[in-house]
């Protein structure tokens, strides 16, 4: 079988930008996207008319985005609003750049879920299980965590470690939405939503946008900042139970094992070499599932792995150092990839991981993806 190894260290992220995160009813997806784009262009120092590749995600109409930015690229891709798309989009753009379909790609993600009161359930997202009252991705994660508890003895206090560590990071991140520290007891006392999951296991819903600018290694040398290389990628889908959205009976373990084999093999590193981990965290349990699938610990062992603040900066595996979806911003993986770049650049201030050289993004979802970033 062919693989993506020929892409190793050939494509770089050269510019990143984001809006503020919050509730912005006075603008829209395009306004937020344009702001993030401008910020990413300033970050890399590229003349904006050099952008000849455009990927949009959760933006209503890619061509309108191009019109607003004055771009007529020669490569366009549009991804739907699903969170799993960020890793997929970066890999697709890398392949397009390597194939010569474009020279400089701008990837723009925008989300107005907060100001437009998105609920992620009920009539907003009709499904076949509605007659039984089953809806919302948070309920699918509750089903998985409940099963993880039964099979492996994982406790809600262990699960709380995820939310507590990420909130700690958000308190170190001036851009983050959530600013109040929380404790394990706060997590235990939070109101249940889809039991056994509680409010503090759920991601935020906020407005904002992110832009990432990518190019080839050769072109990256001429830009403002040191490039961050894509050194490894891994991918595997889990479509076998797609009718139960956001669910896998075995916690995406097999898919993430496959992804781990690919991404570590391509980058030439092992989990123990990862300096910082950016983990898709729409709901806290998926962090446990990701750790297990990628081999940071054995299956069923993530509960004890995360104990004692292991995911905090200074801990065993600094994870979601920006605060993640749970406490920084619901940018559906996009802000996590930006954070990976900023960690490698050493731009993270109080939450900086010392000498961060191997930073991994991963998302355990029906489209499992991982990317390993290293300094260029």
């Amino acid at each position: 079988m062919s693989d993506g190894r020929q892409l190793k260290d050939r494509i770089a992220i050269v510019g990143v930008g984001n809006t503020r995160y919050g509730n912005f009813p006075d603008t829209d997806d395009y306004g937020l996207g344009a702001h993030a784009f401008r910020s990413a262009i300033e970050d890399c120092g590229l003349a904006k008319d050099r952008i000849d590749g455009l990927l949009t995600c959760r933006v209503p109409y890619y061509a309108r985005m191009g019109e607003i930015l004055g771009l007529n690229p020669r490569w366009t891709a549009a991804m739907p609003a699903h969170g799993r798309m960020s890793g997929m989009a970066i890999i697709e753009a890398a392949a397009a750049l390597d194939a010569g379909l474009c020279d400089y790609a701008a990837l723009i993600y925008a989300n107005i879920g907060r100001s437009r009161r998105v609920n992620y359930g009920g009539d907003e997202s009709p499904g076949i299980w509605d007659p039984w009252g089953f809806t919302s991705p948070g309920a699918a994660h509750a089903l998985m965590f409940q099963r993880h508890r039964a099979l492996f003895g994982t406790s809600t206090r262990q699960l709380a470690e995820v939310s507590v560590a990420f909130r700690h990071h958000a308190c170190l991140n001036p851009d983050a939405v959530m600013k109040q520290p929380i404790t394990i007891d706060d997590h235990e006392a939070a109101r249940p939503i889809t039991e056994p999951l509680r409010l503090l296991d759920f991601c935020l819903i906020n407005d904002g946008a992110v832009c990432i600018i990518m190019t080839t290694k050769e072109r990256a040398k001429d830009l403002k900042k040191r490039p961050v290389m894509i050194s490894g990628i891994g991918a595997r889908e889990a479509y076998g139970t797609a009718s139960i959205p956001n669910f896998d009976l075995n916690f995406w373990y097999d898919q993430m094992r496959d992804v781990g084999t690919q991404v570590y093999g391509m980058a030439g590193v092992a989990p123990a070499d990862v300096d910082a981990f950016m983990c898709y965290d729409n709901f806290s349990p998926t962090v446990l599932f990701s750790l297990e699938g990628l081999g940071f610990c054995g299956q069923g062992e993530a509960g004890s792995f995360v104990e004692g603040g292991a995911l905090k900066v200074g801990g065993r595996l600094p994870t979601n150092t920006d605060g993640g979806h749970l406490s920084n911003s619901y940018m559906q993986g996009w802000a996590l990839n930006v954070e990976a770049v900023r960690q490698i650049r050493g731009e993270c201030g109080a939450r900086q991981v010392k000498d961060a050289e191997v930073v991994q993004y991963a998302g355990a979802t029906p489209c499992c993806r991982s990317i390993i970033y290293t300094p260029g």
Binding site: I128, G133, M144, R147
Partner: protein, 137 residues
């Protein structure tokens, strides 16, 4: 928002009609491929295994295993507000397919994952009967 707010109903289409007609007769069924005998749920326009378009809704035992459960404390539909908190279960049928349904049990302590369950049928009205589950044995 009223106590009598409607609950969501299944969207009946040519593929799933057999499932809901069987349910009205008190029969739990899964889609079975006439060609390779693969069984699956929900129904699909072709068999996911062999791509045959010839498929039938065939009765199953109604027996299965409780694989997980979740208790909803939030009403995503007004029609479920009066039921809060309510239980939703994930069942693995003896025949293989997974189903999401409700479990007729009020004490979560009794919902031991791995326990046997069996189908029961709740008549909603003349048009709709919902297959649900209860603990078995």
């Amino acid at each position: 928002m009223s106590a009598t707010a409607a609950r969501p109903r299944p969207k009946i289409d040519p593929i799933n009609r057999g499932f809901w007609e069987n349910a009205r007769a008190g029969i739990l069924s899964v889609q079975t491929c006439d060609n390779c005998r693969d069984v699956h749920f929900p129904g699909s326009p072709v068999c996911p295994r062999c791509l045959s378009g010839d498929q039938s809704w065939t009765p199953v035992s109604g027996r299965g295993t409780l694989l997980s459960w979740v208790r909803f404390h939030r009403a995503y539909w007004d029609g479920f507000r009066a039921e809060l908190p309510y239980l939703v279960c994930l069942v693995g049928l003896e025949e293989g397919p997974l189903l999401i349904s409700n479990i007729l049990e009020t004490d979560p302590e009794k919902l031991v994952i791995g326990s046997p369950v069996e189908a029961v049928f709740e008549t909603v009205d003349e048009e709709l009967t919902l297959p649900k589950f209860r603990m078995r044995g």
